[in-house]
Amino acid sequence: MMQKYDAQGRSLAARVNDAMMSGKRLNDYDLPSALKAQILNRRYSEAEINAAYAKASSKNRVAGV
């Protein structure tokens, strides 16, 4: 399981938000170019995003978050 919080207790979403606010994008990460291209080529539809959000929010409701 991936580490969800860093040493400062920030969640992945908060870290990504900070990165985006500072103008950092996927291309700025030190990852193989082919991998970055693969990620960039995969576009998520509105339906996929909303389905993921619905799943996450129902999970949080069950957990009482």
Partner: protein
């Protein structure tokens, strides 16, 4: 009361995350419009002015589609960065594990590796010393005499 229905058109349900992001983009545009109006007219716009100047087409199908498209693009950027960040964390964790594995190797493995490397070093030095000795001995007259005597003795016997 305002007659525009931007929120209900943009956010179609409680699970419509794209619509919620689209609504923040709409709100941001509205704030920018009000700020521009204030700097141009040196006063706040009235509700009617906002309605006529900004909201006039904000809930049109074209605008709704535009806001949703911007939200979709923004969310995809966020997802891409999230994947990048997760992979970076994974990379770091793999590096840490490799370092820990190297540090915490079994004692017998370290000892056997040291013994083997010392043995190889000793063999290299011995081989080098032998070559040097043979090189010096071949030009030594005493050595040549002794070698000839030994050969003769072997032949005689």
């Amino acid at each position: 009361m305002s007659r525009h229905q931007t929120f209900s058109k943009l956010v179609q349900s409680q699970q419509d995350f794209v619509g919620m992001v689209a609504y923040t983009i709409y709100k941001n545009e509205k704030i920018n419009w009000i700020e521009a109006f204030k700097s141009h007219n040196s006063r706040e716009p009235s509700a009617a002015e906002v309605e006529q100047g900004f909201n006039v087409d904000s809930d049109s199908d074209f605008k709704i589609s535009h806001y949703r498209s911007l939200a979709d693009s923004l969310l995809n950027d966020f997802i891409d960065s999230s994947i990048g960040e997760e992979l970076r964390i994974y990379q770091d964790s793999l590096k840490e594990q490799a370092i820990i594995k190297t540090i915490q190797r079994p004692l017998w493995k370290s000892v056997s590796e040291n013994v083997l490397s010392n043995l190889i070093a000793a063999l290299i030095i011995a081989g080098f010393a032998l070559i040097v000795w043979l090189f010096q001995a071949k030009d030594n007259p005493d050595f040549q005499k002794e070698a000839a005597r030994q050969v003769e003795q072997v032949i005689k016997n």
